[in-house]
């Protein structure tokens, strides 16, 4: 029988891995945009806070941050709940895991987004202002569409690293693809088969991501002439 009948369980794990990745990515984008905004805001305090955030995250292994936030958060939430007179909370690993991954990769995306915004010529924003656009219109019509183009290469990289980092969440007990492979290996005593299978699935996901984001980059660069020597 194919994969000792565990193929549907593994696919279920793939679905969970993709869901975790997508959720973490959205959270990371949010943190990244806030971080980039803070760094470019010109405010001393906001810039400093964003610098501390990105430096701290990049100096630590993902696994350590994951453990710190997951177990530390558990205790913190319960201490707060205790003070508020509420009962015991069990932190949902999905929530904690995706929040942590989002927080970590938000630091990397902060740099990506900051670079992408800086790559837009200043004159364009000034031109927008001269036309009487509001700050929101400038952001929506001028900055965001062009930022996407400049951000895609860095974004692709971070996304690929993040998909792979979701594997670490199995260590704090999230039911992802690696966790499914662990369970299947334990019962069938064919660990290599299962780990190789999920490795192949990860490879498929990264390959599809590279193709899709490459296509997206070309779409967003349609109006841009390449240098020809």
């Amino acid at each position: 029988m194919f994969l000792h009948g565990y193929f549907p369980a593994i696919l279920e794990g793939l679905r969970s891995t993709l869901l975790i990745s997508a959720t973490s990515l959205s959270i990371a984008c949010l943190f990244g945009l806030i971080g980039a905004g803070a760094k470019l805001s010109g405010s001393r305090m906001a810039g400093l806070a964003a610098d501390v955030y990105t430096t701290l995250i990049r100096g630590l292994p993902e696994l350590v941050l994951l453990l710190l936030i997951f177990y530390g958060g558990q205790i913190m939430v319960n201490a707060l709940a205790d003070r508020a007179g509420l009962g015991y909370f069990d932190i949902n690993p999905f929530l904690a895991g995706t929040l942590t991954l989002g927080f970590i990769f938000g630091a990397y995306l902060t740099e990506t987004f900051r670079g992408a915004i800086l790559a837009i010529p200043r004159g364009q924003m000034e031109a927008g202002k001269a036309y009487g656009m509001t700050q929101g219109q400038i952001l929506r019509r001028i900055i965001l569409p062009q930022m996407v183009r400049h951000a895609i290469p860095g974004f692709t990289n971070n996304w690929l690293v993040m998909i792979k980092a979701t594997a670490l969440l199995s260590i704090i007990g999230l039911d992802d693809m690696v966790h499914r492979a662990n369970l299947a290996s334990a019962t069938t005593r064919a660990p290599f088969t299962f780990y190789a299978t999920i490795a192949g699935l990860y490879l498929a996901v990264t390959t599809i991501s590279i193709l899709l984001l490459g296509w997206l980059e070309r779409r967003f660069s349609l109006g841009v002439r390449k240098v020809e020597f």
């Binding site: 292994p61 177990y71 558990q74 690696v178 660990p191 780990y195 190789a196």
Partner: protein
């Protein structure tokens, strides 16, 4: 709030973990560097029989999680009876050997791509000059291409060193008591996450920035010739 007594008490454990982490990193990085130099040369080769297999290798390794690679080697290989009955089995049963193998193979893929990228950036004039002097291919590589490519690769290679340092924390998943495992053990014994993981975070932070500083020093030494003559003013 912070249990300083616990920190003082577990300090020696952390120092031991630090030693293990650094050894793991050193043996992984040295193996991957030695492997990636010939692989990078093959990767930029015009012969597809050389470059394509190396590309396949780096692509597969870079497209899959290190944790899964480590599990494949440490837990997975036990599936094969011929290996279990072979002379090599004591090695593959050993967590250290498996972790070293996984980290070295993983880092080799990234280092190969970094070096290959640096090799491709070689100014064509350098290669032409070397050829016109009648150097053999081997001499061109050892005297011209590799020394300058390795220098150019230095900033990115510094990032890779930090990545490997951080990756050694994954060895905690296969019973090796390095820094992260130490912190996890302290956490399980005392249920003090902030002390246990906060302290280990400080350790990693210090090593990371020591590595970054070291690479900066090396860059100052080896990339001096690439520094801009005068720094253009940043004010727009």
């Amino acid at each position: 709030m912070i249990d300083w007594a616990l920190i003082a008490e577990s300090w020696p454990l952390y120092l031991n973990g630090l030693k293990i982490s650094l050894i793991l990193m050193a043996i992984s990085v040295s193996a991957s560097f030695l492997l990636s130099v010939p692989l990078a040369i093959a990767r930029v080769s015009r012969n597809p029989w050389l470059s394509k297999p190396v590309f396949l290798y780096t692509y597969v390794i870079r497209g899959t999680p290190l944790l899964v690679q480590l599990y494949m080697i440490y837990f997975g290989l036990a599936q094969f009876e011929w290996l279990r009955e072979s002379m090599a089995w004591p090695l593959f049963r050993n967590a250290w050997f498996c972790a070293w193998l996984a980290f070295a193979l993983n880092s080799t893929a990234y280092t190969t791509e970094i070096l290959a990228g640096a090799l491709r950036q070689t100014p064509s004039g350098e290669l032409e000059a070397a050829r016109s002097l009648g150097m053999s291919t081997a001499t061109i590589y050892t005297r011209i291409l590799l020394p300058s490519a390795i220098r150019r690769a230095l900033p990115q290679y510094g990032n890779e060193l930090v990545m490997v340092m951080h990756a050694t924390s994954i060895a905690s998943a296969v019973t090796i008591v390095e820094l992260t495992r130490t912190a996890r053990d302290v956490y399980y014994n005392h249920l003090a996450p902030f002390e246990a993981f906060g302290l280990v975070a400080v350790f990693y932070f210090v090593i990371t920035f020591a590595l970054v500083g070291l690479v900066k020093l090396l860059e100052g030494r080896f990339l001096r010739h690439l520094r801009p003559m005068s720094i253009p003013s940043k004010a727009a």
